[in-house]
């Protein structure tokens, strides 16, 4: 195994023992080969224990409870916020807003910053690589407010056409560039700090969808240069139901509230209300306290392993997998090959529908995803209705790739794939 200086290869044997679900079998006794971490990651015992432990020993609603349990729950919640802030290099914890998921984080930006700042004719630039969650909120603003949404295309390798971005920035009234850091369908790692620099020169803000990057790469918001970063807890070893919007402090402080209700106010009268400080202004209603605490435990786990080491592990797996998959007759791989590629492998297999591929793999205990991956514009751009997608994380190893390749060889025989 080759490693970059300073990163030790992961002890995957030991890591796998931390994930209870990897001990179970599926489909009549077959060991689970989990290759769907781009959809959601599995959870280490420490995260599961943090979640259960909160309910077992610390459960109370946060804020304003003048008793020990509530104080404890409030402290745990805010400690989790501080952990997440440190993890992504935020300059202060109150730049971190807890939401449900990436989708909610992006909608929060559209509904607060977007509604306050975008008028008819203003342009939001996004890309053909985006997940629907970074397309539909802008389409909604287009329908409601007459903003214009432009899409940056990809080249034949699956990389963004930065020349198109440049042209749009020079010729259009671009107010926001909303771009994914890592494509969930192709694995392309976009040059977001370069994109942010170009956008800022043109006076536009930058929103980065970090759903596929924060779990897998070292991400530092200062190095990124973005204005907003959205990501989900459940893809980074944390529980469902908790996600993060990060924004620069001054920017966040300038935004109007999102949802209205308890927790987000300073005062309420029969005449009206005044919004509270950030980040509470954006966290109306009782938050997912236990989920936030468990996300903090996930951050602890990732930091103990090291994000650089996780990234290097996925690079090694990718280098192992791509040539082996390429050898299978009938297979077509999508996405760039190079340093700007994350551990996501989308492919088609002759004329066989990806649902059939996934169903045959499932019979071998292999979990992959088949479909449009919530990227219908990208699928149309590639000229396919769907792909099969295998995605890695720190608990995958070469044996998983071997099982995938063997099962695909068998699928080829069963489904009669033309070479």
């Amino acid at each position: 195994m080759s490693t970059k200086a300073g990163t030790q290869p992961l002890d995957v044997h030991r890591i796998r023992t931390d994930f209870p679900i990897l001990q179970r079998t599926v489909r009549d006794g077959k060991p689970l080969v989990y290759l769907d971490s781009a959809a959601t990651s599995q959870k280490p015992a420490s995260v599961i224990e943090a979640l259960a432990g909160f309910y077992r020993t610390s459960n109370a609603n946060i804020h304003r409870g003048i008793y020990e349990l509530s104080e404890e729950a409030s402290i745990l919640y805010e400690e989790a916020r501080a952990k997440v802030a440190r993890f992504i290099g935020a300059s202060r914890p109150d730049e971190v807003v807890f939401v449900r998921n990436t989708t909610e984080a992006i909608n929060l930006v559209a509904r607060t910053w977007g509604v306050a700042n975008l008028q008819a004719g203003d342009v939001v630039v996004t890309t053909i690589l985006e997940h629907h969650s970074n397309i539909v909120p802008w389409h909604q603003l287009a329908a409601e407010r007459g903003i214009v949404v432009h899409f940056v295309d990809i080249d034949e390798t699956g990389r963004l056409r930065l020349d198109q971005l440049e042209t749009l920035l020079r010729t259009q009234p671009v107010k926001l560039v909303a771009v994914t850091h890592v494509s969930n369908a192709l694995g392309t790692i976009n040059p977001v700090s370069d994109i942010a620099r170009r956008a800022h020169e043109a006076g536009a803000l930058v929103l980065v969808d970090g759903a596929q990057s924060v779990p897998h790469l070292p991400v530092d918001v200062r190095a990124l240069g973005a204005d907003f970063l959205a990501f989900s807890g459940h893809k980074m070893l944390g529980p469902f139901g908790i996600g993060v919007l990060w924004a620069r402090y001054e920017l966040l402080a300038s935004l109007p509230p999102f949802l209205g209700g308890g927790g987000m106010i300073r005062t309420v009268t029969t005449e009206g209300f005044t919004p509270g400080d950030i980040p509470a202004r954006f966290e109306a209603g009782t938050p997912s306290v236990a989920d936030a605490v468990a996300l903090g435990a996930a951050v602890d786990y990732l930091e103990a392993i090291g994000m650089a080491a996780i990234r290097q592990h996925e690079v090694t797996l990718l280098a192992y997998a791509l040539p082996r998959l390429e050898e299978i007759p009938g297979i077509r791989l999508y996405g760039p090959v190079g340093e700007d590629r994350a551990g996501v492998i989308s492919f088609t297999f002759g004329d066989v529908h990806p649902h059939d591929v996934a169903a045959v793999l499932d019979l071998h205990g292999i979990a992959v995803r088949a479909g449009h991956h919530c990227t219908q514009p990208l699928m149309r751009r590639l000229g396919v209705v769907a792909t099969t997608r295998a995605s890695f994380y720190l608990y995958n190893w070469e044996a998983d790739i071997d099982r995938l390749v063997e099962a695909l060889q068998e699928a080829r025989r069963v489904l009669d794939v033309a070479g």
Partner: protein, 126 residues
């Protein structure tokens, strides 16, 4: 090798029966399952209220295409009243393989298209 891809399913998928289009169909309908892109078109030639001939074309997963092939064999020569009486379970039973909830629409797309062609009701069969 597996329950889902038993030989007769693969046989219908690889060698679909009644595949193609009719020159002058009395009824014709096409629909797709937008989630997975499965697409089926069915042409009917009627003699009175009886299905004298039926053809289908389509593309999609093995389950959707095999089910369409099997369905054409089931209904050829049947009356429109008999088609109306066909339920989801009738086709699933004929498929003879376990269909998970996630694949149910794959298996039933052809029946949905047939019913729309036969008497204009375009909804998922129950």
């Amino acid at each position: 090798m597996s329950d889902l891809y038993r030989e007769h399913i693969l046989d219908h998928y690889q060698h679909p029966r009644n595949y193609g289009t009719l020159e002058q169909p009395d009824r014709s309908f096409e629909d797709s399952n937008p989630l997975c892109g499965d697409r089926i078109r069915i042409d009917l030639k009627l003699s009175g209220d009886r299905i004298e001939d039926i053809r289908f074309t389509g593309r999609g997963c093995a389950i959707s295409q095999a089910a369409a092939s099997i369905l054409t064999e089931m209904v050829k020569g049947k009356s429109l009243e008999e088609v109306r009486a066909l339920g989801a379970e009738d086709l699933l039973e004929e498929l003879g393989v376990p269909i998970s909830p996630a694949r149910r629409k794959c298996a039933l797309l052809s029946l949905k298209v047939l019913k729309a062609a036969a008497y204009g009701i375009n909804e998922w069969p129950r």
